[in-house]
């Protein structure tokens, strides 16, 4: 939080680090990325967590990922879809000319340059070293600037008193929240609940992994088939990418 490094300096350092590791010997790296992190070790920018969603595999009408997310974080509704918390939304797009319909889950895109962080007046919106964008609810004053700034409508505001929260998802009235990419699972070497559910349902539309690791499944798939950013024109460099758009 306090030791933020500006982006240009960071990119210079990371390039320098890559150059350094290349000069030693081809294929030999000084450090390993995307290894299980010990509990007492801080997350680092060597990793950048991301998600790749194949809309062709995403089944129309299936809400497996949304259900898993709601259960994981004990998200409860009040029968008001406009304001009820949703970390993931299922979105259907229809191309008018052909009538071709695609279905996709839309959640916080975990931007490299997140607009929500830019506008936050208190520093509650922040990006972790490993690229996951979060709200520190201890600092959030509930002003909702971030909700206005987010081009993906990814954030929700908690309007009601909440009780019986889960251990992994503390949440309370008067704060903003959004997809956390299941940090509590990821920090323990797990994968997000939505990805797990999608894989269990045998749809395999979602891949989670380290974008910085060229050998991760997600990086290989992105290299092979590519993946689009939603609203790439905003140059946010999202951590969530889509295929088949």
């Amino acid at each position: 939080m306090s030791d933020q490094i500006n982006d240009s300096r960071r990119s210079f350092l990371s390039k320098a680090a890559i150059a350094g590791s290349i000069t030693i010997a081809p294929g030999v790296f000084l450090h390993q990325t995307a290894q299980a992190k010990p509990d007492d070790q801080a997350v680092s920018s060597k990793t950048r967590w991301g998600m790749l969603i194949d809309t062709d595999k995403c089944a129309k009408g299936c809400t497996g990922c949304v259900d898993a997310c709601n259960n994981e974080h004990s998200l409860t509704g009040h029968g008001r879809p406009e304001t009820d918390t949703q970390y993931i939304r299922k979105v259907s797009l229809v191309e008018k000319q052909t009538g071709h319909e695609i279905s996709l889950p839309l959640m916080c895109q975990h931007c490299e340059n997140p607009p929500c962080v830019d506008v936050c007046p208190t520093g509650a919106s922040f990006k972790r070293e490993d690229g996951i964008v979060l709200v520190d609810k201890h600092i959030c004053i509930g002003c909702r600037y971030c909700m206005m700034a987010c081009p993906y409508k990814a954030r929700s505001f908690i309007h009601e008193v909440i009780e019986n929260q889960t251990l992994s998802a503390p949440r309370g009235k008067g704060t903003v929240e959004s997809c956390t990419m299941c940090t509590h699972r990821v920090d323990k070497d797990g994968i997000p609940a939505c990805v797990e559910a999608c894989t269990e349902d045998d749809h395999n539309a979602m891949i989670f992994g380290d974008l910085n690791d060229p050998n991760s499944e997600i990086s290989k798939e992105l290299k092979k088939h590519g993946g689009k950013q939603i609203r790439a024109d905003l140059q946010l460099n999202t951590g969530v990418r889509y295929q088949g758009l």
């Binding site: 939080m1 992190k37 509990d39 007492d40 070790q41 801080a42 997350v43 009408g61 809400t63 949304v66 259900d67 709601n70 259960n71 004990s74 998200l75 409860t76 509704g77 029968g79 879809p81 009820d84 299922k90 259907s92 229809v94 319909e101 922040f126 972790r128 070293e129 490993d130 979060l134 520190d136 609810k137 201890h138 008193v161 909440i162 009780e163 019986n164 929260q165 889960t166 251990l167 503390p170 949440r171 309370g172 009235k173 008067g174 704060t175 940090t183 509590h184 990821v186 920090d187 323990k188």
Partner: protein, 153 residues
């Protein structure tokens, strides 16, 4: 001489004034339920925790939130797991109840705590969840079904 007399008399008067206060057995103290079960040693000495528990929790809070450090020694949930236990009637006190470990002292000291606006006030094993996520699921499916109908028309 007169100074000495004054000092002695002041001490005398003072002790008279103080004595009833010392002798009052009814000074209220918060009723704290001791944690039960095995291994009831706290993570630090009792005196240390009484004075500085907030610093431990605050430090851990920022470490977990911002750096993803998930050691459990000083985590709030560990405090809750030991210290919040069912009472004689088998009820687990909520944060609105004076019997709650944290609330007992905080109400006594008149210090407001905000932890439980977001964090669970009971160990997870005592929390029964209703099926509201299911309700949300049904609602979502209804919306999707409606949308499908709309597209078909």
């Amino acid at each position: 001489m007169s100074k000495r007399f004054l000092r002695i008399s002041l001490i005398f008067i003072g002790s008279i004034l103080l004595f009833p206060a010392q002798g009052m057995a009814g000074t209220p103290f918060p009723l704290i339920h001791e944690p039960e079960g095995e291994g009831v040693e706290c993570v630090e000495d009792e005196d240390e925790m009484r004075r500085n528990h907030m610093n431990y929790i605050l430090h851990q809070r920022d470490k977990t939130m911002h750096e993803g450090i998930r050691t459990e020694t000083y985590s709030l949930s560990k405090c809750i797991d030991c210290h919040v236990q069912p009472n004689d009637k088998g009820e687990v006190p909520t944060h609105e109840n004076k019997e709650h470990f944290c609330v007992a002292c905080h109400q006594y000291a008149s210090v407001q705590i905000d932890c439980f606006e977001c964090h669970a006030d009971r160990p997870q094993k005592f929390i029964k969840r209703d099926s509201k996520p299911q309700a949300l699921r049904q609602q979502l499916q209804e919306v999707l079904a409606e949308k499908d109908m709309g597209d078909a028309q």
